[in-house]
């Protein structure tokens, strides 16, 4: 994508085996190469690789510079099939199944450059820093003045004046400045054309020959624009994503897995968050965020129950519905259906409000389902946390 957009990157190859890594080394024809772990998280260079079974430390650093074929073999075998733990992966880390083997680069200076959508100004923002190759969040915290910013509109692109001013802030002069201005303009166009939500190049390097090279980058796309980019499917690696979240999404559910033991099923994203907050307030821990959406039906509610109950740590379920378009009696019937199908065995608390809430409660009360019905969110939180014996004093 960078190459197509005219942004210089090093030659490199994607590999999934040690053999491929070695043949990539041979074909690149560069004595020094970088062997890079490819996972959907940042902080790889400073991360460590661990054995997934024993937990033993295998390798320090998820991005290594290899000076020989032997070193490529060593690093590739120590990275592939091992867990990379970085600041962004959390302690459980991520299994590495992909490598990128890339020609070495003659580095004169390392910069940091990012493009993103700035919510405050509702425009696009380019951020640059001379402190490349390091943890940028740390730079932002300790020396915010070292981060330079230029705002622009997608319809106008990044003009030469703004790109030039960024180059000046980064201390680039002469041909390096020209190279930066050209690259920055292309990068801004790429951001807009490909519907990115973030491009982070770290490091962006000034190479020995005075040109700018994007040595490593992270790119996120705006999900909402997927209809404009059918090719995203081809480059998407589902194995890097949460399998259950992907499956929930296919059912029209918005689901995020969390660490607690109380499953939540809610209509509306804000209300779903508020439900988690209330569970916590009463001393419980939410096991998930789950918004069934405005168009939920019996089928998606059954699927939602199934997904919640897959989590072995679930000890109780809280259903919180404020009926609008969704009718509480429909949800009640779906709950009864779903609990039969999934063989529900944990305590269930249901809070209905809004459209047909009385009817919904009657449906549940008249069923043989073991369920506690309440009318406010606070009472719901208290009831479910109480049911699993976790109420705060």
């Amino acid at each position: 994508m960078f190459r197509e957009s005219g942004v210089r990157v090093q030659q490199g190859e994607h590999c999934t085996t040690v053999e491929q890594a070695l043949s990539a080394y041979d074909s690149l024809g560069s004595e020094i190469v970088a062997v890079k772990s490819q996972i959907h998280a940042g902080g790889r260079g400073k991360g460590n690789l661990y054995c997934p079974n024993s937990g033993d430390l295998i390798l320090e650093g998820g991005v290594k510079v290899a000076f020989s074929r032997e070193e490529v073999e060593e690093y590739a075998s120590k990275i592939l099939g091992h867990k990379l733990v970085t600041k962004q992966t959390g302690p459980s880390g991520k299994m590495v199944s992909n490598l990128y083997v890339e020609s070495g680069c003659d580095i004169a200076h390392e910069f940091y450059l990012a493009l993103l959508i700035d919510r405050e100004t509702e425009s696009l923002l380019m951020m640059g820093s001379t402190e490349g190759g390091v943890d940028i969040e740390e730079v932002a915290e300790k020396t915010p003045e070292a981060i330079h910013k230029e705002w622009f509109q997608p319809s106008m692109g990044l003009d030469e004046e703004k790109a030039g001013s960024m180059a000046d802030s980064l201390g680039l002069k002469g041909p390096s400045r020209d190279s930066f201005v050209e690259m920055a303009g292309r990068l801004a166009s790429m951001f807009v054309d490909k519907d990115c939500s973030m491009i982070e190049i770290n490091p962006l390097v000034l190479s020995g020959d005075g040109t700018m090279v994007a040595l490593d980058a992270k790119v996120s796309f705006d999900d909402n624009a997927s209809f404009r980019h059918p090719w995203w499917h081809e480059i998407r690696d589902i194995s890097e994503e949460s399998e259950v979240e992907v499956r929930a999404h296919e059912q029209g559910l918005s689901y995020v897995d969390l660490d607690g033991n109380i499953g939540c099923l809610v209509n509306g994203a804000g209300l779903a968050m508020a439900t988690m907050d209330v569970i916590k307030m009463y001393g419980g821990e939410p096991a998930n965020f789950l918004d069934i959406g405005g168009g939920a039906d019996s089928e998606s509610i059954t699927a939602a129950f199934g997904i919640i109950l897959e989590d072995p740590s679930i000890e109780g379920i809280l259903v919180n519905i404020f009926g609008g378009i969704i009718r509480c009696d429909m949800v009640a019937r779906s709950i009864i259906e779903a609990s039969k199908e999934t063989g529900l065995e944990v305590p269930l608390v249901v809070r209905f409000s809004g459209t047909n809430h009385e009817e919904g409660r009657i449906v549940l009360d008249e069923s043989d389902l073991d369920v506690v019905t309440v009318s406010t969110l606070g009472a719901a939180g208290e009831a479910i946390v109480g049911a699993i014996g976790g109420l705060l004093e």
Binding site: R119, G324, S353, G381
Partner: protein, 309 residues
């Protein structure tokens, strides 16, 4: 009184012939909203039957506004067509009426489309956009009222509380909370949960400050961005009425999008804690449990001498 809309507001529906458009147009008319027509390109000249009235369908917003005298429009078109629909409405209202109100319900509009839309609308300061990805706006009347959106009308009642919220069902929760302490609403505005949108908290607060019938406001935020902090800071010196605030997402993990495109804590910023702290610092009465919003409101009203203890 109310802000931005009232029972006299004449409303157009963009996407009126679609299933969502027709369904919600029916509900809006049932509530009392004066739906005067709709727009679906290619279906101009036809009519849509709503309770008690047949309304004309137009090919363009210009025709629809000229013909009906509408001053507001609500958009139910699919995400990929929503940005052009907003821009068409903004241009038509600006040129024909010298302004207008656009409410976009559609969820899932690409963020860059919204950046372009917002930049376009900023050039036309007589046009107001509410949303997208929101439940709409409602001003309850003595009987019925004006509802432009998808919220269940019957939960509302005319009163003196203004409500502003990023979320849909959580707005309904806030409405129910005001009702639980015997208070009705002047206007409830759902500003939507997208990272880039039209009307924000401050616009709503400013309008409620100027509305003599609004005596207190409930503000419902959620994690992500800094709109709540900015609103709190603004309210300190510009808002004189009692204010109650809640923020959803205190338990949301960082870096994870919680349903709404804008609901994400990124780089450690946009947490519920920061927002609650900003609210407290600005003297806003906070409820940490949404089922305590009613209590917080009651306390705020009593403190302001607007209700007996």
């Amino acid at each position: 009184m109310s802000i931005w809309i009232n029972e006299e507001t004449k409303v157009l529906v963009q996407g009126i012939t679609g299933s969502q458009g027709t369904f919600h147009s029916t509900r809006m008319v049932e509530y009392g909203t004066d739906i005067v027509g709709g727009v679906t390109p290619g279906k101009g000249g036809s009519t849509v039957t709503l309770p008690g009235r047949d309304v004309p369908v137009f090919d363009s917003m210009s025709e629809a506004i000229s013909d009906t005298g509408a001053t507001a429009s609500v958009i139910y078109v699919p995400a990929r067509f929503a940005a052009p629909a907003i821009i068409e409405a903004a241009d038509a209202f600006h040129e024909i009426n010298g302004g207008g109100l656009i409410i976009c319900i559609t969820e899932g509009i690409p963020t860059l489309d919204m950046v372009r839309v917002v930049a376009h609308i900023e050039q036309k300061d007589d046009v107001r956009l509410i949303g997208p990805n929101c439940p709409g706006i409602i001003s309850p009347g003595e009987e019925g009222g004006c509802k432009i959106g998808i919220m269940p009308g019957y939960i509302h009642s005319k009163g003196r509380i203004g409500i502003i919220s990023k979320s849909g069902t959580l707005t309904y929760e806030a409405v129910a909370q005001t009702m639980s302490v015997g208070e009705g609403q002047t206007t409830c505005v759902g500003i939507g949960g997208d990272p880039v949108n039209g009307t924000g908290f401050i616009d709503c607060l400013a309008a409620f400050e100027d509305d003599p019938d609004t005596e207190a406001v409930v503000m419902i935020g959620e994690i992500g961005g800094t709109a709540e902090e900015e609103a709190a800071e603004w309210a300190k010196s510009n808002f004189s009425k009692p204010l109650v605030g809640f923020v959803a997402g205190a338990t949301a993990p960082p870096g994870k999008r919680m349903g709404h495109a804008g609901a994400i804590i990124s780089g450690g910023k946009g947490t519920a804690e920061e927002k609650f702290a900003a609210f407290e610092e600005a003297g806003i009465h906070i409820a940490r449990d949404p089922s305590k919003i009613g209590d917080a409101l009651l306390e705020a009203l009593v403190e302001a001498g607007l209700r007996e203890p």
